[in-house]
Symmetry: C2
Subunit: 452 residues, 2 copies
Amino acid sequence: MSSETPQTWDQIRSLLSKDATAEEIEEYLEALDPAELVRAVYRLNPDEQRFLLIAVSPEKAAELIEELPDTHAADLIDDMPAREAAAIVEEMASDERADLLAEMEQREAEAILEHLDEEDAEEARRLISYPPDTAGGLMMTEFAVYPMSATIREVVEDVTTREADYSFLTVHYVYVVIRKHRLKGVLRLRDMVFADPDARIGDIARPAASVRPEATLVELDEFFDENDIAAVPVVDERGFLLGIVRRRAVLESLADKAESDSLKSAGIVGGEELRSMPVILRSRRRLGWLSINIVLNIIAASVIALYQDTLSAVIALAVFLPIVSDMSGCSGNQAVAVSMRELTLGATVPRDLLRVWGKEVSVGVINGLTLGVLLAVAAWAWKGSPMLGVVVGAALALNTVIAVSIGGTVPLALRRLGVDPAVASGPVLTTVTDMCGFFLVLSLASLALPLL
Amino acid sequence: MSSETPQTWDQIRSLLSKDATAEEIEEYLEALDPAELVRAVYRLNPDEQRFLLIAVSPEKAAELIEELPDTHAADLIDDMPAREAAAIVEEMASDERADLLAEMEQREAEAILEHLDEEDAEEARRLISYPPDTAGGLMMTEFAVYPMSATIREVVEDVTTREADYSFLTVHYVYVVIRKHRLKGVLRLRDMVFADPDARIGDIARPAASVRPEATLVELDEFFDENDIAAVPVVDERGFLLGIVRRRAVLESLADKAESDSLKSAGIVGGEELRSMPVILRSRRRLGWLSINIVLNIIAASVIALYQDTLSAVIALAVFLPIVSDMSGCSGNQAVAVSMRELTLGATVPRDLLRVWGKEVSVGVINGLTLGVLLAVAAWAWKGSPMLGVVVGAALALNTVIAVSIGGTVPLALRRLGVDPAVASGPVLTTVTDMCGFFLVLSLASLALPLL
């Protein structure tokens, strides 16, 4: 995998090691193909990444940081001197800044906030105080707001002079308020293009659809499905304008959530891993989840120990124990995936538990019988014992029904209990289906022992 | 889970069954909370959903269709009379229309296209011809384009009169072309707000960043990370403007892809399942994947049959076979998840295979030793045989290294072979780690048999 030309990340390393100026490094980064830049940044280890962020200008560092998933970005910023971290954080848009700080330890975040100017710090504290996946947690506070009495001409002139303040935002909307805070309406930029410059904005603004700070990610997604606008204002119960949520922030959060759920369900739980992180950290995070699983696995397998006599009598059963438990696990995982998806889509809510169970049982019976017959025939053909076929086939059929019942309903039950279903569904499912699988094969075999 | 007030979906059913007018039904739907509407639509079975789409106006039907994931929407439209389907499809934005038609059988899509007007049909055929997750496949053809010589005043007047044509698009940009097609620049709406009405757009347009139709989803995501704009023009090698890709379309595709990958890796492969689909369809789709898995499982477990004598001699080993294979599967899945994520982020490309393998081996050795020692101690404590502990502990340690090596590299290898890693990584991993796990436990036990 080595090549003759020096790799991008090696070039960056060498620029860093010979103390190149911020301009030289930035010039090199700008010239890279964006995909190559991303790959290079991920290839640097966290210390080098931190060194790079400090070596370039805070603006460029903020840009690089925004390329990284929030959890990685927080890990990097966490271990940087607070003053350097604050300079970078200051350059970020308010919503992205708050997301990043919310991922950090409170003490570390506070150390950075102390280096920001008072107003920014207070605003960041306010944004962090909202739960992350709600309108409050996703909103940004850079928006353009004017009183009802302002004219189009005044607004256009003001927006033009203050353009730098709005640089984060391609200003699509101007919000109209009374008494400084209370949202009365909204004006799209295009409305201003087509309007009389002397018109008062209060007269031509249209009523603004808005959301409450507690609106969830799913509700916001619904909102933007219904309303083809780029940002929605967030108002409190008094109608005061608190901030705006960009459609983009909602879509990005949804994609992050889908991805992080899929990582968690595969056992990457302690934080999102990149292979450029130190081995010890990667290994420790993975082990946390694995050590819980090995205990659950031992508990499940101990069922086998209870039936050693049966197993000794019919040693062929040992071949079928992992087949029955693995196959039921597969069926159960399918049911988990469908439930997780229906929860995300809003097609299912936790109180649908009984309906979901009914729907799963019907699929479970069909698939259980099909797989059971398949396995029974395989066992019969292999050992010439039809009764062995009946035992393992029946065990698989029954355990498939159990597995899909658990797989379909456990995510809903965990959601209702406030436990993250992406993390806990898998281990709960496998432990129960393993235990039941071993128990069914061996207890049915005990009953049928004289015939085996 | 029953409640006293009739459920939303029952109300919709009763409106449909008593032949309510389109207006009555739409009025009822409009009054619903959006989350409730989504849940109700998902609760109807596909025939009822189809009936609902035909009962309301094509505009409303197109709106409802856009709420559903493309694959579900395609399933619904597929089985509808072509004329009714065409009326709905006609109301959709060109990019969403093309996505939907691309999900359908070619013959069915063609039947619908024949009912569209010539121009729309040809445009749709052109859009469908691009691979789905590329700029060509994601682009829309509704955009505003003017020659260099047009003045701001002319453009503003024309946009105003033709506003209905652009109704899908919150017109943020006006594209400037020469010789009808060749992209020369772009003008933001805000530029027009602040410009002299008599200026020629050719003089104030700025150069437009653009992408080629073959740009991938990851490249588009990078592009929008770098450029804070709402849409990017797509041009061919001659510089001709073909369409525009909205940032929103890119983010939505990424979220869909993350979700569909996570479904596939859990064994929902034949198509995205909803519990409102008929039992037979759900069960058939799930069985397709399960029947391949049961064959792989039987192959893996047949290793156990080769060592029946060893197993008979030390029956306690039967308890540890599923523990070793399951735990290695868990470790391997973690590596799969990290590789899938790094592929998505662009942090890893298939040619990084050797590096990934090296990184996984180092984690595998640490975690394998830790878990191996844990299991060895458990085995020793349970059976009082230190040698049994050594056998199962060593097997688990070795198999963990094998599992993470396979788990980390298989997704990259599959991607290079053009096979979808989300579907195939899991089965490949489990089959190999099961076989190796059984083989290691039993062959080490055979060697140590005199001491056990």
